[in-house]
Amino acid sequence: MFQTFGLNKLLGTKLTYEESELVAALRNKDEQSFSYLYEHYSGALYGVIKQIVNDAELSNDVLQECFVNIWRRIETYDESKGRLFTWMLNIARNAAIDKTRSKGFQQGQRQIPLDGEILQPSVKPGIDDFGLKKLILKLKDEQRLLIDLSFFQGYTHEQIANALHIPLGTVKTRIRSALIQLRALMQ
């Protein structure tokens, strides 16, 4: 332990980490690794958060909450279930969706009325010209709506089925084929 610590001190700021190294350092509560994590991933997570929350100030709150949670909950990360970034992405997405459902979130910003009668797309061409929303703008309307409602707005398959009057099984298969399309659009 002492040797690792000394080595890190000698090398100064570490430029790159293997993922396993990074996770180990985070688990040791190594602050330098946390800085690296933030510098390397905050932009990617911030983009997703902003596209869910649609508000700069609230996005800041969510990003802060997200990184504090990453730091504190690193013990619960299980590498057998996926990569570190995937784990962080899900923390960020869940925190952002929670924020859109909190009391403080303005009514006018809600994408969907609570009874789910009218589902509106949250993707606006010209505003969302980056990240995943830029990609889903290239999808067919129905596929875009399904990814928008499930990934960006956090509605369950059941809620979407009820609101769109489509059988649950159909919602599931259509979401999956939309995701396959989305993947094909990634470079």
Binding site: E31, F34, S35, Y38, E39, Y41, S42, G43, A44, L45, Y46, G47, V48, K50, S59, N60, L63, Q64, E65, F67, V68, N69, W71, R72, R73, S80, K81, G82, R83, F85, T86, L89, N90, I91, R93, N94, A95, D98, F130, G131, L132, K134, L135, S150, F151, H157, T173, I175, R176, S177, L179, I180, L182, R183, M186, Q187
Partner: protein, 170 residues
Amino acid sequence: MNVKEYISSGIVESYVMGLATEAERTEFEALCAQYPEIAEARNAFELALEEQLLNDSLQAPPFLQSQIKDKVNSSAGEAYPGELPEETPVRRVGAWKFLAAASLILLAGSVYWALTTNKKNQDLLARNKELENQAQQSTASNWRSSSATAPGATMRHARARSAMQRQAAC
């Protein structure tokens, strides 16, 4: 099972993007452990998504980083912010604590009451015995002489009896 078909069903993308149901997730994780091809397919999509989001990211305001660092350093022992209970659970915990405190106070009070009542009871019983003895003695000694003390003794006797009855009623 047809692993290739499973991999190309969209479950991989659905799992990684957090859109799979609980049952689908559990199944997917078990199958990943069983079939390395599925775990590899998952890893490949994770890398593609990660690269996509890293290449097309949005810079957060620079002041946030130090703010987050401060928060992480200042509140090492606190609960996870994401898991802080909402207002209602907090209130429930408060009510529970209040009830526990109130019942302890009640318990202490009733123990004190029981002890003092018991002591009073015994004092009164002893006093009763004494009075009964006195009454019997005075009745016996005045039996034939019909002195003026007899009614007083009988009255003391009666008072002692009614005191006993009051205690019994308690």
